[in-house]
């Protein structure tokens, strides 16, 4: 078990190094510091100011090799900063990135956690229902509706939701955010609704497949032969066994709750990590952007290792490769 864990961790570490190298190529080799500087100091600033900015942000170092001091290169600096979580400050406004991450995590979680939980609470029962009525018109209609829901562009859900529910019917504020608990639910209602509907189709389709698969297994047939009721079979056996693959799939998504939803946060003006990312893209704030990518990858790798390990612990049949 320990050997397996070590192996997994080593694999994760190698992956992280890969991500860092990839980021270096993209943000230090393809994009030049002048690009970043120009956007940061503004259109009207003269070239000396540009150079001062570049020097002040350490973008004037040699990229790979510095004969005077091998440790003083951009590549070394990039790795050192990321791996010690000393992300430095934003290229756009010099705010410490760690501060920005702290600020953004709350709003992101405020939207993504309810979205995630509600998505499961609504999606799984519906999928079970559809699977219960499999091979009937409810199943067929349910599947077609899921495919319909999946085929609409996410943009359209958001535009439509804001227009109909926000503007025409005035049920919710069209956009905005305020962390005070008195008004927070009002702001979250519409993005939650939109996010749920947009994600429902895919969720139902996946879960239904798992459940239907489960119903064709031997133990279900045995149970049925013993005279157990269909509803009982679904709830006691199919749901329970089907939940394992569903939850593994779900656990993998948990790390991404922190990074938030780029689209929803941007359109609804929620100041979470997703909208920080979009801001960073628009402001050419590469320091923030690469930190976001790094953190996303790190969370993903950790989540995957945790899932795998807990899975092996829970199910002894899974062999340790």
């Amino acid at each position: 078990m320990l050997a397996y864990l070590v192996r997994r961790l080593a694999g994760g570490a190698v992956t992280i190094v890969g991500v860092l190298l990839f980021l270096f190529v993209l943000f230090f080799l393809v994009a030049t510091p002048e690009d970043v500087a120009r956007k940061a100091v503004g259109e009207k600033a003269p070239p000396e100011v540009l150079e001062q900015w570049i020097a002040a942000h350490g973008y004037d170092k040699p990229r790979f090799w510095n004969p005077d001091d091998p440790a003083d290169t951009m590549l070394a600096e990039h790795f050192r900063r990321m791996l010690t979580f000393d992300f430095g400050s934003s290229d756009a406004d010099d705010v410490p990135i760690s501060k920005r991450l702290r600020e953004g995590a709350g709003p992101s979680l405020a939207l993504s956690v309810p979205l995630f939980v509600l998505g499961l609470l609504i999606g799984i029962p519906l999928a079970l229902l559809v699977a219960f009525f499999r091979e009937t018109y409810i199943d067929r209609v349910g599947l077609v509706i899921s495919v319909l829901l999946m085929s609409v562009s996410a943009l359209l859900y958001i535009i439509g939701g804001q227009y109909v529910l926000g503007k025409l019917l005035r049920w919710f504020p069209i956009s905005g955010f305020d962390p005070s608990p008195e008004v927070l639910p009002r702001f979250l209602a519409l993005p939650l609704l939109v996010g749920l509907v947009a994600g429902l189709g895919g969720g139902i389709r996946f879960d239904r497949t798992v459940f239907v698969e489960e119903t064709s297994k031997d133990y279900v047939r045995t149970a049925r032969a013993k005279g157990a009721g269909e509803a009982r079979i679904m709830l006691r056996h199919v749901l329970r066994n089907g939940l394992i693959p569903i939850l593994t799939n779900v656990v993998l998504q948990i790390p991404f709750l922190f990074t938030g939803s780029i689209l929803l946060e941007s359109f609804f003006g929620i100041p979470g990590l997703g909208s920080i990312t979009v801001d960073a893209i628009q402001a050419n704030d590469f320091a923030t952007l690469r930190t976001m990518v790094f953190i996303g990858s790190l969370l993903f790798v950790l989540g995957q290792i945790l899932t795998d390990v807990s899975y092996t612990l829970a199910d002894p049949r899974v062999r340790l490769e």
């Binding site: 992280i16 890969g18 993209l26 562009s153 943009l155 535009i159 689209l263 990312t277 990518v293 790798v301």
Partner: protein, 343 residues
């Protein structure tokens, strides 16, 4: 060579390729039965997909010719190659600005139109016919889905099969690369690559390709791992058949159903991704996503301009829906099990 000649040649190559594929399918009993079953299950969806393909092909074939009358068009357009779709509309089929579907006067201000009652889906802010734009968008959508899949599938197949079949070091390297790419949040990776490569249809397709080959490569790897252990493959190896030959003759043919299913399912996802990219301002010119993005703000015009948004989004929706339905059916017909294990 000029751009439109190149594009015509590509179209010709694609048509020949498709014809060859059709012949191959007819010869193979299994495949032709599967196709027949698919047509039985989803006739309408298949027809819709076929319709979009035809429109896209018609939009891709372009050539130059003198405009009809001396007054029609200007010097520049006289030298421009026009597609079959362009030729279905009059040369100067434009208004000054918005016109509602089949209207007689301009939408705002009420000035008389140059072509009253002939814009089936109205015109956009620059007075371009929306039906024309929408039809042109079909080519972009198929380009995004098709070209990207053409990048993804060989790439994924190559890496997946070599990793799965040879295992060991190659597999480790594959694992490293694929997990690196998978670890980076998809949309961010996409944006970063486009920011680095620059903007344009090919660049967008390449970026989409890089971000989406991993999933399929992993499936291919898993399958070839299994196929490697099959008796007849072992037998072939024992008989001294060379490794590349085994891969080409035995492994890849056994993956073909997966290729087809992946292609169809990937396709709809790609077309939807392009819409999101358009919102970020890095989509492809003339795509439906771009039309939706342009039309987004028009909802609050008063009176409301709806035809733009409706035309583009229903075209997008019907293509994606049709492809999804075909994909589902194809999965059921070709392979009810394998895909699920890997999803």
């Amino acid at each position: 060579m000029e751009a439109h000649v190149v594009s015509n040649l590509i179209v010709a190559a694609l048509v020949f390729g498709a014809a060859g594929l059709a012949v191959a399918i007819r010869r193979n009993r299994l495949w032709s039965e599967a196709l027949r079953e698919l047509a039985r299950r989803r006739p309408i969806a298949l027809a819709v997909v076929a319709l979009f393909v035809v429109v896209a092909l018609l939009e891709s074939v372009r050539w130059r010719s003198e405009p009809e009358g001396p007054e029609a068009g200007d010097t520049v357009s006289r030298f421009e190659a026009r597609s079959v779709v362009d030729r279905m509309f009059p040369h100067d089929f434009r208004e000054k600005s918005y016109s509602a579907p089949l209207a007689e006067v301009e939408f705002y201000g009420g000035a008389p139109l140059a072509h009253p009652r002939s814009h089936l889906l109205g015109t956009d802010i620059l007075g371009r016919d929306v039906l024309h734009q929408t039809l042109k968008g079909a080519r972009v959508a198929l380009l995004v889905g098709g070209l990207t899949s053409l990048i993804v599938i060989p790439l994924a197949l190559f890496f997946g099969v070599t990793a799965g079949y040879f295992g060991r070091r190659i597999d480790d390297a594959f694992f490293l690369v694929s997990s690196t790419l998978m670890a980076i949040p998809g949309l961010l990776l996409l944006i970063a690559i486009i920011m680095a490569l620059g903007r344009g249809p090919v660049q967008v397709c390449v970026a989409l390709g890089i971000t989406s080959w991993v999933g399929f490569a992993r499936v291919a790897r898993g399958e070839s791992l299994k196929i490697r252990e099959l008796d007849y493959v072992q037998a072939a190896r024992a008989l001294g058949v060379s490794e590349p030959r085994i891969i080409v003759r035995h492994v890849i043919p056994n993956l073909m159903h997966l290729v087809i299913i992946t292609f169809v399912l990937l396709f709809s996802g790609l077309v939807l991704s392009e819409a999101t990219l358009s919102w970020l301002g890095i989509g492809i010119d003339g795509s439906w996503g771009q039309m939706i993005d342009q039309a987004r703000d028009e909802l609050s015009r008063d009176p409301i301009v709806w035809w733009n948004l409706v035309a583009a989004s229903s075209a997008l929706f019907s293509l994606v829906l049709a492809v999804n339905l075909v994909g589902d059916a194809a999965r059921d017909v070709l392979d009810p099990r394998t895909m699920k294990e890997h999803r």
